[in-house]
């Protein structure tokens, strides 16, 4: 279609093409399945349940369950989760269901253990409440350590970037005004038939980050197009394959269907900043992303995709074959997706605290100073850590009072041998939870706080955090 519009123009494309199929295949965490088990004898009103050790919620009556894709197994967390259990069921595998209940007059049973396949279930419906984002941010990491995120593994100092989404093949990117995709649109969902049931949660149309809520009969889905997935140190999720047909109704729709990767822009975002408002480094289009190399702060950086463009093409092709074979019929939406929804941040909860709330001035020294002078400064300031800086105030290392004691006991004549030069650091806007994690992981008691140019802004210590938890600051 895109080539046809370019070569022959909008009018010819409108005359010659009836339907354009689109597709995407990627991680969609806000996915899950509703399962109805039928009743056991004696019957049970489930209070807690697990499928393959993945905790399952029980939002409805006695034997209705909801299994979320990102729920993690209690015995194999981060590796096996709801997405894997759903995929196993779809693939015809047996799963272990365990459940407990308080026992009532009408539902006396208190425990249940049973092996099930999808054929044993009444309803097994995928209900995904946020899928198929129109575009997604490209993630990179400015920190000095590897971070593991839902956007994959990000190397330090912006050494790689990961993006998601199929760009010009994405369903909503081809219908950006939601003229044909809306409530009731019949879609390809993971190899089966599904429906759009409305806007997805966090639908954000005004910035071009729209998404949809979908449902479909999981029993008819194909494991080729749905997969559980594990993001190291983030958790589990599920890859969904979604294809949406777009009827070519008028010239306006043709023009929108001609959209190219270079027209679809997203943000390169620093996921190294663990805050809601992660800084945007630049705008970028999907053409540059798909080229595999992008420019970040003047450096050429490898860009990888987390969603599969190859699979997205297969989804779109499969849907095309269904339509051509008369096995799939398009529907008109009975209600359009809203185009003015605002995606609000959460009302600020109590208790959030950041480095900026507790950072204080660091005791500093330079490498060439006398040990005695530095020791005296520590005593005067009642501190345990001296941050070593260079002539420009940039971080050069750290010395603890213990290191200083050792150097004096050994009769050392210089600080040099006792300076720890590979220093873990914090940034001013980092949440204290992240600081505590760094302190605990490396078994250390303080972090110099530095800016982007490694200039020392202050220090945070485990003592500061203890005081905060003790209520002195939060009150």
């Amino acid at each position: 279609m895109k080539d046809l519009v370019e070569s022959s123009g909008v009018k010819v494309a409108l005359r010659d093409v009836d339907v354009v199929t689109t597709g995407t295949f990627g991680a969609m965490c806000s996915s899950g399945a509703v399962i109805n088990l039928g009743h056991a004898d004696p019957p049970i009103k489930i209070e807690k349940a697990w499928i393959n050790d993945v905790p399952v919620s029980h939002p409805g009556a006695a034997v209705d369950l909801f299994i979320g894709a990102s729920q993690m197994s209690e015995t194999d967390p981060f590796e096996y989760g709801g997405g894997h259990a759903i995929t196993d069921l779809i693939g015809g595998k047996e799963v272990e269901l365990r459940a407990t209940a308080p026992g009532t007059d009408c539902y006396p049973r208190t425990r249940l253990e049973v092996t099930l396949t999808k054929d044993d279930l009444n309803q097994f419906y995928l209900i995904n409440f946020r899928n198929c984002y129109q575009r997604y941010a490209c993630a990179t990491n400015g920190r000095d350590e590897i971070i593991y995120t839902y956007m994959g593994k990000l190397l330090p100092h912006y050494r790689n970037a990961n993006y998601s989404g199929s760009g010009e093949l994405n369903p909503l990117a081809n219908d950006p005004d939601y003229e044909t995709i809306g409530l009731g649109t019949r879609i390809f969902l993971n190899g089966g038939v599904g429906y759009v049931i409305g806007e997805g949660t966090q639908h954000n149309p005004t910035t071009g980050f729209g998404n949809i809520m979908v449902k479909g009969d999981a029993k008819a889905m194909d494991p080729e197009f749905i997969r559980g997935a594990s993001f190291t140190r983030y958790g589990t999720t599920m890859y969904n394959g979604i294809g949406i047909p777009i009827p070519v109704l008028n010239e306006g729709i043709v023009q929108k269907l001609a959209v190219r990767d270079e027209d679809i822009y997203t943000d390169v975002v620093d996921y190294g900043v663990p805050r809601r408002g992660r800084p945007t480094l630049r705008k970028i289009n999907y053409k540059e992303l798909k080229s595999g190399r992008i420019d970040v702060n003047g450096q050429s950086v490898k860009a990888g995709s987390l969603s599969s463009i190859r699979k997205a093409q297969q989804v779109s092709e499969a849907l095309k074959h269904w339509i051509e074979g008369g096995r799939f019929f398009l529907t008109a939406p009975i209600e359009r997706l809203p185009s003015d929804t605002v995606f609000k941040p959460m009302k600020q909860p109590k208790g959030a605290a950041f480095v900026e709330n507790i950072v204080h001035e660091a005791v500093t020294c330079t490498e060439d100073e006398d040990i005695e002078a530095v020791a005296a400064r520590l005593i005067n300031r009642n501190a345990n850590h001296v941050v070593v800086v260079d002539g420009d105030g940039r971080l050069a290392g750290i010395i603890t009072s213990w290191d200083l004691t050792k150097s004096i006991a050994n009769g050392g004549d210089g600080l040099g041998d006792y300076i720890v030069r590979a220093v873990h650091t914090a940034s001013i806007n980092e949440p204290l939870e992240a600081v505590s994690k760094t302190l605990a992981e490396h078994n250390i008691s303080a972090l110099p706080v530095i800016d982007g140019e490694r200039r020392v802004l202050g220090i945070v210590t485990s003592e500061d955090i203890s005081k905060l938890v003790g209520g002195r600051v939060l009150g």
Binding site: G152, K153, R227, S230, T232, A303, G304, I309
Partner: protein
């Protein structure tokens, strides 16, 4: 920027070479540490699985070969094509360009590029757990 990795190599000794102190000689001559992971030896020969800093791997391997030892640089990453969905989550991580997206946007492992490198950075970056270290 030169990045350092550990290259995993298998030294195979035959009847002639097994009773000579070749490993110690190479370490002393080259001044390079060699981390021995496992060793199986008898009078007829044996194998040592070891790791060497990537920056000195080439000269160490040459030194062993000159002393009559067979050196295998082990293939280390295996990709399960059934599990792989061709997302490309491994591509940006690989410092050797051993994992790339081909013309049809399928993830391709170029074993020649990856050979012997035990960096393993890609393994836990794969959401489908389709990559694993072997050897």
């Amino acid at each position: 920027m030169e990045v350092e990795y550990l290259v995993r190599v298998m030294f195979r000794f035959d009847k002639e070479t097994v009773d000579k102190p070749i490993t110690s000689q190479v370490i002393l001559e080259q001044g390079v540490p060699i981390n021995i992971l496992s060793a199986h030896m008898n009078q007829r020969g044996g194998e040592i699985l070891a790791e060497i800093d990537s920056r000195s791997a080439e000269k160490v391997i040459k030194a062993f070969r000159e002393k009559g030892v067979t050196v295998d640089v082990r293939r280390l990453i295996e990709k399960d094509d059934e599990l792989c969905v061709d997302c490309g989550g491994c591509v940006s991580i690989c410092p050797m360009d051993a994992l790339t997206l081909d013309e049809g946007r399928a993830v391709t492992l170029h074993e020649d590029q990856c050979n012997g490198v035990t960096c393993g950075l890609c393994v836990d970056a794969c959401p489908q757990r389709a990559l694993r270290l072997i050897g």
